[in-house]
Each structure stands twice: as structure tokens, then as C-alpha cells.
Symmetry: C2
Subunit: 400 residues, 2 copies
């Protein structure tokens, strides 16, 4: 099998390295050798072994009938979308790590692949090296999926873990993440939750078989989480995580990316640092969790190459995916039910007890003018109504 | 797709329930309706809806050309083996939850299935509802697998968790497990590690593509674990788990089922109660972990039915498995390297410090005549040599 790799950045060079390093075991798994015929990049890499197979013009790749699979690891919507679509129309399967592309055009590209008995695979687009797309597509097939909740962004999880371990502020934890290379100079895509949002759109579309527009998913990042919030979480024996979550309740499907405070009984409680994890709840299966490195050159490349192996094994057979182009209408999150963690000034004490059902309270010496509570479960709408006019210092959804 | 279910016990009745309850979503995933034409059981079930399709004679099933898939959930090697082999020879795919059958005859049955472009699937044989067989076979294909470590037996994990939570003895925790239905009246298969051993044989065979004889896997249970061991583990901030583990070091493949003491940094540390988890370490992927309900009627049935869906989608296509009939020769565990937790009487103190490299020590008021140590890593052979003649109260392999 001759393949081409579009983009020789971090993931692209990882793909080349993995295919070369594990050549024999990959050939055994795929049933034949995988040979990289081209690498496409605008840059040159003098001295790098890839220089010999480097091309600058996509036409050379897409017009070469020998190339059976195209690996797209450039990132971003364009020109990735144009290249991928042309590859499929030219009869080549595509494996990609590109979450922006998949979240935006996944349904359409899957449809083209299906019509032509090709494959459009994207294991690496969510959870890096963690197998989650293929398990959702092929393993958890006996269940009605009632919930998918993921810690899908390693940068924010690192920051929240750091804040908890060191008691530092969001800004200091972000600086640390940046100096370690875990966060970009412009960290918005991570810390505002946009990255997790795209990944949640992909998982939710796969789980329910219809297309979720990521723009419609309510998305809150972690920029407002303070050292005080973290201190209260510790006091409650809980942890704050950025959850990307979709839930099916009756006929309603809710989706939300937002920080959540959870206790030790939640399997995601112990997922720390740059690790990712995805919890899937099926109506007969109960909870299963998938855990591992959510990013990084080699883990992500491992997932991309596993797709190349699968595409090689299924040369003229489309591996069915139930993600159709039909749009999934998300329910309004007004109806979404959670516990709430709420910080209030001391003079709101009476109002709080009058209006809210309170499960737990906490006082911290460092914050003498306020108190914090954990409420019983209520809908977002109910919470908004009950706290109207109250001076809420901050609140975080919780699972008590 | 017409199927037959062999055995209407716990898992069999779960399979019937799952297929009926999730009929629509399963049909969508499989591409057609799954219809249970027969249930085979020696017993009758008057009043049960299954009574209408109940048969007592396997001939009726195996000779019916309409039946495309046979679900074997009887357990035990015979008559399961005979039935399954005949099913494959008659051109029917087989899905089974039967770990004894798969561990003993998996390689042969896979070969027959492959020759006939059928499928022999066994997702439910390891880890109950946790997707692990399919991910090993289809997802983790770009890696050389360097380690698989599982908590593969819920009964023993429940007992060890109970001993830790309550400080009780093995016997008392076992009684509790029995009264809750988590342990059999004769608990040997679980507590002696035999069940975990068979599951490890299956995972190791799949990971390395050759047949591992479960009889050759060194297997130690948890019957010798005492309240004192658990108390020391707590003191060290560690936990004792029954690990079923295979490791590839150079050209050697080691396999061992035995209790192990691990710290909070091991992702399996937090796997408690009846839950199962499997950690896979790939040479490029790093660690991934799969977590969920390792047993139970509906989770196990969910895994069986996911195999039925897969077999339906691959009617005349064998889903490649690389488990050949070639025998895998395990390396002698003499060369296997671990830390060791060791309890010694006080008068062995000098000898211990002379002979062993000691990382940590602990003293407990409740056990005034002894002390415990954590050693640096050494091979089993080296440990045996160094402690020869010493009065070791107990030892447990550890990961410090």
C-alpha cells in the first residue's frame, strides 16, 4: 500500500517515524507493507530523510493512481478540506487527525467515502492516541448511548491540575503550561473550550448518527476559574475539570462544554495533567472509560497509523459509520439538570437558605467575607431563576 | 439476520433482553434487524417469552440454513467447543463470552473461521462490557505492544477493596462477596487467579499473534493476602491489586498473574470494587487504559451483542485476527524485574540492610515484632537468592 502524508509538522513527522519504526508489526497487522510514497509540505527539509519523497504540489499526489491512502495532518479547514475531498473523489481513502475539518465537514466527507466504497477515518481527531472513534463506531453498538463525557483537552486539564496541586492562579498555571510547550502563545482555542467543543461535536455526531454543528454547542472555558474555586473544591473533596459532555434525556440531546466540579466517585476525577479520558454511558453497558495521552506527536501518530492499517485492510469496503448529514437539533440547555457549586457573600446567607436546597456548605479562612454551597440538582433555568438578583460571586456546575 | 443463543443462563438471558430492548438502534448499527430464532437450553422456562423459541436439540439449530450467527454463552469447554466448531464448519459465525473455550481453543477456532470467511468473536470473554478485544485487534495496530496489565477479575478486586476499606481479613471480605453474589460458593476460580489467567492468555495471544497456553502462565491468587499486608500498603500510600500482566522485554515475553502493590501514579490504583480495567502500553502510544464493568448480566451481554452486530456487518468477510496457532514460548519469570514489598521479623533487620537495596521502610503499632520494606527493582531470581535463608513473613511484588 502506497500512501502520501499531507503536512510534515509535528503529527506528520510522527506518522513517518511510526511507520518506519514499526514497519514489520504494522505490515503484519495490515496484511501488507505500508510505504510512504510522498510527503507534501511547502517547506524543504534538507538533510531529513523525508526530503527524497517531499513534494510541494498536491497535483502530483492526487493524480498518482498508485497512492491508495492519503493522510491529512495539516490541520485547519483549508486547504485540508479541498485536498481531502479531491482525494476521495479520486478514489483514495483518507485518514486525518484534523478535528476542525471533521467537526465541520465530517458528515459530507463520510458520505462521499461511503458512496465510493472508500474510507474516511479520523481516530486521531479526538483523544489523541486513545481509541475512541473506532470503539464508538464498532464496539459500543448494542447500546443506546445516554451520555458521553470527556476530558478532551490536555492543556486545560494540565492547568486545572496545576492550580489544584500548587494553589496558584489560572494565569500562573497557564504560564507554566506555555513554558512546557503544553499551551500555545495564543491559548484561546484551548482555554476558551473551542478545541473541546469541536471534539464533542464529533463524538456526539457519531453517538447519535446525525450531524451536530459545533457552533451550536454552548461552550465555556476555564479562564474564570480562580484559586478560590479550587480551594473550595478541595474542601469538598472534589475536583474541577473541563467537561465536554452530551446527554440524552428522553428525546432531548443536550451538549455542553463547561467546567464541572466532581467527586471521587466519578471515574474522571483522577484524570490529571495532560491526560485525556472519555466516559461513555450506555443503557445496558453502564459506564466505560477510555484513558490515555490526548495529544503529543507519537500517540497522535499512533492513532493516525491505526487508521491507515484499517483502511489498508478495508480497501474496497466502507466501514460503516452512522453519522449522517441530517442535522441533530440540540435541546436548549435550560432543561439540563446539575448540582451547582455557588460562592456567595456572607450577607446572602438568608436568601440562599430561603431559595435554594443546600446539600453542603464550606467556609475558608482565606475568604472570610463569603461562603460556598453545593445545591441539590436543578435545571439551568431553575438555577437562573432562583439566583436572580442574588450577588453570586461565582458558580460552577457540579455532580455531588 | 437470524441468530441462535446457546444457553439461557445469566448472560444468555441478558443477550435476549439487550437485543429486544435496543432493537431499533441495533438494527441501525448492524444495517439490518437482528432476530433471535432459537434459544437452546436443556431446561424449560414456562411463562417466559423465550419459551416459544426454546429448543433442546442443537441439531435443529446447526442444521437450519437460515441461522447466520450462533451466540455461545453456556460457559465451560464442553459441549461448547463441539457446538462452536460444528457451527463454524456449517458456515455460521460465532460470538462467545466463554473465556475457557477461547483460552483453550481460540487459535484453532479463529483459523477455521478465517478459512471459511466467517467470524469467531469473543469481546465478552475478557473484561465483560469493556471494549478490549476489538481495540487490541483493530485500534492498537500501529504499536509494538510492550505491556498489557489488567485487573481482570471483579471478585478479587472487590475483596481487596473491601479489605482496604474495612481493614478486614480475606475470609471476611470473601464472605461479604459471596453474600452479595459477587463470589461463587466455591470461589477457587476467582481467588486463586485461574479466571484472570485465562483472560491474560487471551489478551497476550492477541497482542503477540501467537498462542499462549494458559497452563504455562505462573498464577498466584489473593488467598495469602492479609490485613497486615493491606495495612502496610496503606502506610506506603499504595494499594494491592491482583494484576494479570504480560510484558515484552527485548525478545522475551513474560506473563504473570499475581498480587501487586502499586502507588497512586499507576492508573490502575484507583480501580476499585467489582470494576475491571486494562492498561495497554505501546511503544509509540504510551499508556492507554480501558475501564468499566468487568462482569454482570447486561454489560457482558452488551459486549456479546456488539459482536453480533460486527458479525452481521461482516457476513462473508473475516475480520482479521493475528492470533495464529503457533505456540508462544513464555520466558522464565526468573528474569522478570519488579520492586518487592517484604515483611520481616525485627531480628532480620541487619541481614535485610546488608543484602537488599531498600527504598522505604514501615513500622506499624499493630505488628510490633516485624517491619516492612520496599526494595529497589530486581529479578525474581535475584530476589530469591538474596532472601535465601531469611525468614520472610510475606512478600508481594511491587511497583514503587
Amino acid at each position: 500500500m502506497k500512501i502520501a502524508v499531507l503536512g510534515y509538522g509535528t503529527v506528520g513527522s510522527g506518522v513517518v517515524e511510526v511507520i518506519r519504526r514499526n514497519k514489520d508489526s504494522i505490515a503484519k497487522r495490515a496484511g501488507e507493507e505500508i510505504d510512504i510514497k510522498y510527503v507534501l509540505d511547502l517547506r524543504d527539509f534538507p538533510g531529513d530523510p523525508v526530503q527524497d519523497i517531499l513534494v510541494h504540489d498536491y497535483e502530483q499526489i492526487v493524480n498518482d493512481p498508485e497512492v491508495g491512502i492519503i493522510v491529512e495532518v495539516m490541520g485547519g479547514v483549508e486547504p485540508a478540506y479541498t485536498f481531502v475531498k479531491r482525494a476521495l473523489l479520486a478514489g483514495k481513502s483518507v485518514c486525518t487527525s484534523n478535528k476542525e475539518l471533521v467537526a465541520r465537514h465530517g458528515a459530507e466527507l463520510l458520505e462521499i467515502a461511503k458512496e465510493r466504497a472508500l474510507n474516511f477515518l479520523f481516530e486521531a481527531s479526538v483523544g489523541g492516541g486513545i481509541p475512541i472513534i473506532r470503539p464508538l463506531n464498532q464496539s459500543i453498538t448494542a447500546d443506546e448511548i445516554e451520555e458521553i463525557t470527556g476530558i478532551l483537552n490536555g492543556t486545560t486539564n494540565f492547568i486545572l491540575t496545576k492550580m489544584r496541586d500548587d494553589g496558584c492562579s489560572f494565569e500562573d498555571a497557564l504560564k507554566e503550561a506555555q513554558s512546557l510547550g503544553y499551551a500555545e502563545r495564543n491559548p484561546a482555542a484551548d482555554v476558551e473550550g473551542f478545541d473541546a467543543c469541536r471534539k464533542l461535536a464529533i463524538l456526539t455526531s457519531l453517538a447519535y448518527g446525525m450531524h451536530v454543528s459545533f457552533e451550536e454547542i454552548q461552550t465555556e472555558g476555564i479562564t474564570n476559574i480562580t484559586a478560590a474555586d479550587i480551594a473550595y473544591a478541595k474542601k469538598f473533596d472534589m475536583a474541577i475539570k473541563l467537561f465536554a459532555s452530551s446527554r440524552k434525556v428522553g428525546d432531548n440531546i443536550f451538549a455542553l462544554v463547561a467546567p464541572k466540579m466532581v467527586g471521587v466517585n466519578n471515574p474522571l476525577y483522577t484524570v490529571n495533567g495532560v491526560y485525556n479520558a472519555i466516559l461513555v454511558h450506555g443503557n445496558v453497558l453502564g459506564d466505560v472509560m477510555f484513558y490515555g495521552s490526548g495529544a503529543g506527536k507519537l500517540p497522535t501518530a499512533s492513532a493516525v497509523v491505526s487508521d491507515v492499517v484499517d483502511a489498508t485492510k478495508h480497501k474496497h469496503v466502507n466501514i460503516m459509520q452512522i453519522w449522517s448529514t441530517k442535522k441533530l437539533d440540540l435541546a436548549s440547555n435550560e432543561g439540563l439538570v446539575n448540582n451547582f457549586f455557588v460562592r456567595l457573600p456572607k450577607d446572602e446567607r438568608k436568601t440562599a437558605w430561603d431559595r435554594l436546597e443546600i446539600l453542603k456548605t464550606a467556609l475558608l479562612d482565606d475568604y472570610p467575607n463569603e461562603f460556598a454551597i453545593l445545591t441539590s440538582p436543578m435545571s439551568e433555568k431553575e438555577f437562573a431563576e432562583k439566583t436572580e438578583g442574588m450577588h453570586v460571586i461565582s458558580y460552577i456546575r457540579a455532580q455531588a
